[in-house]
């Protein structure tokens, strides 16, 4: 099982290293978001306090969609998905492997983009950096978990590019709201106590978004 999981992750990483299809599209999109927001608004420090958390989450969510769509499209060439389904392991291992690889790629994008926001808007972040990292991590885990599952589901459709955002956004609304609200509080210099309710809500969604795909992935692949 662990060997198969490692093999799926290794394969996705080496493919991304060679093609750079997911990370480059995510980075270009996030960069565009930064530039467009930068030129669209006259942002004072007070306004920036309020809108920057939203901007970061918008960039993260929309760029992740681009990456998630690519994730299973690569498996359609030469019917590689069938090859994966024939591997001698539980099919949920494929989900876990894809989830880990996607999470890694989105994390890599965030490591570049979040500081990019601060630099471009000349914003001095004064909140808790550890808290910001924690919230972004927890939010990303939940979003990528359900996103990976739905990308697998949508990949069997001819309109998978359109289908994924349509089914993913409504499901992840609570997670995104909690993410934006808690990030906003962190930007205002608040501590863990202030964000704890949002944080626990995100944790609950993470558990749900990991358990449901784990239980249903085999069935989805059969359909």
């Amino acid at each position: 099982m662990i060997n198969a999981l490692k093999a799926v992750i290794w394969k996705d990483i080496i493919m991304e290293y060679k093609t750079k299809q997911m990370t480059s599209s995510m980075l270009v999109f996030s960069g565009l978001v930064i530039v467009i927001f930068g030129f669209a608004f006259e942002l004072s420090i007070e306004v920036l306090h309020k809108v920057l958390p939203g901007m970061i989450w918008v960039a993260m969510i929309f760029s992740s969609i681009l990456g998630l769509n690519r994730s299973f499209m690569l498996e359609k060439n030469n019917d590689c998905m069938q090859g994966m389904l024939l591997l001698p392991c539980d099919r949920t291992i494929i989900f876990l492997g894809k989830f880990c690889a996607n999470f890694l790629f989105v994390l890599l994008t965030q490591i570049i983009i979040v500081p990019g926001f601060f630099v471009f808007f000349d914003y001095r972040f004064q909140g808790g950096l550890g808290l910001l990292v924690l919230i972004l991590l927890v939010g990303t885990i939940g979003f990528i978990a359900i996103g990976t599952f739905l990308a697998a589901l949508a990949s069997n459709s001819r309109m998978s590019d359109m289908l994924l955002p349509i089914i993913l956004f409504p499901i992840t609304v609570p997670l995104i709201i909690a993410g934006v609200q808690s990030t906003s509080l962190i930007f205002q210099g608040q501590g863990f106590d202030a964000i704890s309710q949002w944080f626990y809500l995100m944790l609950v969604f993470d558990v749900i978004f990991l358990v449901i795909p784990y239980m249903l992935f085999d069935y989805v692949m059969e359909v």
Binding site: N3, A4, K6, A7, V8, W10, K11, I14, M15, K18, T19, L74, N77, N78, D79, C80, Q82, G83, L85, L86, L87, P88, C89, D90, D218, E222
Partner: protein, 235 residues
Amino acid sequence: MLVAEQLEKSIGGKRIIHPISFKVTRGEFVTVLGPNGAGKSTLFKLLSLATQPSKGKIFINGSKATTLSSNLRKEIGVISHHTFLYDNLSALENLKFYGQAYQVCDLDKRIKEVLRFVGLQLYIHDPVRTYSRGMQQRLSIARAILHNPSILFLDEPYTGLDQHAIQILNSVLQSLNKDNRTIFMITHNYEEALTLSNRLIVLTKGKVVYDADTSGIKAEDFRRIYLELVGSEKS
């Protein structure tokens, strides 16, 4: 050994495979022929444990198999007209991925062995997208036998191959069969089937209408039998 007992598959209320039973012994080379829509690919997916039967049982080397029988999948190698290979990865990287997932011992040595067997050892580091169709299909064979399976399933392996590539594929299949490996092939090409197989099964409308060994059958005679079977089912 491969055994199908009253195997049945319905999709969306439509019965694709009617109850089918047969036994394939170790070392046998069985070819399934049939017109388009006969249910060959569905039967292939059922036997290769890619999909679950609606009813019936499959036994592989004596063990009951389902899509959840992950360990039994180690007994199976699958070659399809799709190669299951990643275009952007090299032959070595593709085989490493499958080898790790199948927990192949001494993987680097085994990869060199199978690449030598299919004659691709000189192209080990080349990306698969630079391979010809014939080379891709040979690499697909290397992928399928990497974990040394006892049963090989082939689904339309001749699709898109030129005559030279077909000859190479046939010689590879013959030498695999000599190793006492069971081979189960689905094809439209009955001439190749007669040359290679010990046994032919004809499937039409999800039913087995012919099941006999190939000894003594001439290509012309079988062609007449096949057309009669397919024609009578169509009319």
